[in-house]
């Protein structure tokens, strides 16, 4: 079927019986768009929130034909929609209905703006405006590459939503423009997605799905798709191989961004090939190593993003990483500052830091209210409660999966050391809850001394830190850690008793906490006195691992 640009798809039209969505003819599609466009007449700005693919396509074109500006919200979470509708945009989705008295569908202005959102590095979602003409050009560039791989009547199935540029183009617009029928429903589970596939079809999917194919048998020829698409993040080699074996065809990966749309592709037949620009796209590298994209479907015809690249000899490129605090989680761009900012907005949270260690991880210092909930719910359910709060405004990929709760975040400016301190919290398995509010007797404030060994310049003590230590009280039941201040107090106390020093208060203190110190463990404390430097150095170790170390001034005291 010939490609028809989106702006004149309905004005030019296709035969009445041509398929649009699976089971929906072009005649019905036209009637649905015309009827809803008539009902939307007068709407100035519409938010496309339809969850279903077919009604997403109807809503998009009805809004455009009604003369409204279209915003594709970054997600359909209530908090996001509330923020976007606050300035008068009308959500369009659930209220779309079939047919009705329609309006005439004239060609659309290719300059009509559509607004998308993506993760910005500042902590606020970033607004990206693209025109209908750019989306048309992207769909046609897509056909120039994929048209050779997918038959003209191939059905398009998807495991990704149409609310981002990848899903919108490959699930809806490319099929609409080229006359391929698309499945309306999105499949979250492989069990349903694979049952829907037919021979020669197209599957629009993602690394999140393709890395979770384990246990699925190779598809019979009657179910084998002609084209399997993936975008968002590079597919690991093992997943690419497994997918090729199951689907009987190598995965075709798409490279792009919200700002640029799709700009490059590669077939994962073997190894890690470079990305090939789509027809009409020119890829280059800025002096500071970023990807520069020139294309007619990119705003201003050129875009420089935050992807660090190296050019391949053949006009293609390889991606090396990101130049900002944007992480890729399950192939989605997640702004770490944004997740942190949203966490801090919760009344349950005093402070938060987020990082990626394969998964999105959050370290949270709860507020007083949060600490009470943490004690009540336990760490797992408290983490899930925070996830639910975040899910009002963030996509699933932006919801941390691993949590640590601490009284205070590791100090220091944002940088490598702080990153390492925070990452260290996730190296150990989560700590089991310990019943802390036992009432029997006074609780110890110092560790038990198990052994004392002299050193050339000091003393070494083996200490057992009891689980019912009083100092753990100010901290959290889900995360019993020995406070740094207690460690310093003990170093001073043992130095005074074993080395005969008379330190009254820890002054001119330098200290570095490398790992959290948990109760119910045996630790070794080494104390060394350097009279010439007038300093006491201390180091807490667990086995060979340094937990914390530092030094304290020994000044102006009687020997």
């Amino acid at each position: 079927m010939t490609a028809i640009p989106l702006s004149c798809l309905l004005a030019v039209g296709r035969p009445d019986d041509a398929p649009v969505a699976v089971g929906v003819t072009f005649a019905r599609f036209r009637a649905d768009v015309a009827g809803n466009a008539a009902r939307l007449k007068g709407c100035r700005r519409g938010l496309l929130v339809a969850a279903d693919g077919y009604w997403g396509a109807v809503g998009l074109l009805a809004l455009l034909h009604a003369g409204a500006e279209v915003t594709i919200p970054p997600n359909a979470q209530p908090g996001t929609l509330a923020a976007l509708t606050a300035d008068g945009a009308v959500p369009v989705g659930g209220d779309l209905r079939p047919g009705g008295e329609g309006m005439a569908l004239a060609p659309l202005d290719p300059g009509t703006p559509l607004t998308f959102f993506t993760s910005g590095s500042t902590g606020e979602p970033k607004r990206v405006v693209r025109t209908l003409g750019m989306l048309e050009a992207e769909a046609l560039a897509t056909e120039a590459v994929l048209g050779r791989l997918a038959g003209p009547t191939a059905r398009v199935h998807a495991t990704v939503p149409h609310q981002h540029v990848y899903g919108l183009n490959f699930r809806l617009l490319w099929p609409l423009v080229t006359g391929r029928p698309f499945a309306s429903a999105m499949h979250e589970l492989w069990e349903t997605a694979l049952a829907a596939l037919d021979a020669g079809s197209v599957l629009v999917t993602s690394p999140a799905h393709l890395t979770r194919l384990a246990g699925i048998a190779p598809l019979p020829p009657s179910r084998r798709p002609a084209l399997v698409l993936s975008a968002g993040a590079p597919l690991p080699e093992s997943a690419a191989r497994e997918a090729a074996a199951i689907f009987g065809t190598p995965v075709t990966e798409i490279f792009g961004s919200t700002e640029t749309g799709a700009i490059a592709h590669r077939r994962r037949e073997a190894g890690d090939p470079s990305w090939r620009p789509l027809p009409g796209v020119v890829a280059g590298r800025t002096p500071d190593g970023r990807l520069r994209v020139g294309a007619t479907h990119v705003e201003g015809r050129e875009h420089v993003g935050s992807d660090l690249v190296e050019m391949a000899g053949d006009g293609g490129f390889r991606v090396l990483g990101r130049a900002d605090r944007i992480a890729k989680v399950e192939g989605k761009r997640v702004s770490l500052p944004e997740v942190e900012a949203q966490l801090r907005r919760s009344p349950l949270v005093a402070d938060a830091a987020v990082l990626t260690l394969e998964q999105l991880c959050a370290v949270v210092a709860p507020s007083a209210e949060g600490a009470a909930r943490l004690a009540d719910l336990g760490a797992f359910r408290f983490g899930r409660l925070l996830r639910r709060e975040l899910s009002a405004v963030l996509e699933p990929a932006g919801l941390p999966r691993r949590w640590r709760f601490v009284s205070r975040l590791p100090d220091g400016a944002l940088g490598k050391r702080r990153h390492a301190d925070i990452a260290a919290l996730f190296e150990e398995a989560a700590l089991s809850e310990i019943a802390l509010f036992e009432t029997a007797g006074p609780r110890p404030t110092v560790p038990d001394v198990c052994a004392v060994r002299p050193l050339a310049d000091g003393v070494e003590l083996d200490l057992f830190i009891p689980g019912d230590l009083a100092q753990l009280d100010g901290h959290f039941p889900g995360m019993p850690i020995v406070p740094g201040v207690a460690q310093i107090d003990w170093a001073v106390m043992f130095a005074n008793t074993h080395l005969g020093l008379g330190i009254e208060a820890a002054q001119s203190l330098q200290v570095k906490f490398r790992r959290v110190t948990v109760p119910d463990t045996l630790v070794t404390l080494a104390l060394r006195h350097a009279p010439a430097r007038r300093r006491l150095t201390f180091e807490y170790r667990c086995g060979d691992e340094t937990l914390s170390s530092g030094s304290i001034g020994v000044e102006g005291i009687a020997p």
Partner: protein, 86 residues
Amino acid sequence: MEKLERELKTLIVDALKLEDIAPEEIDSEEPLFNDGLGLDSIDALELGVALRKAYGIKIESVTDDVKQHFANVRSLARFIQSQRAE
């Protein structure tokens, strides 16, 4: 059935690497997703992998109500048992 439910709870905690929660803390009728245990679509995919490995669920026999089977531990247990019976 009760044994299968216990088995599934352990599988959920192990396969999804849930931290800070023990299998017996999961209620059999508590919704697994959203407001209940708070699992998400990625967890659903992971759970699919784990169920395929542990119980060998076959795609061919799966129908549209697969989502209802994933509602809670009890419905999952019923689903697995019905698969075994076939």
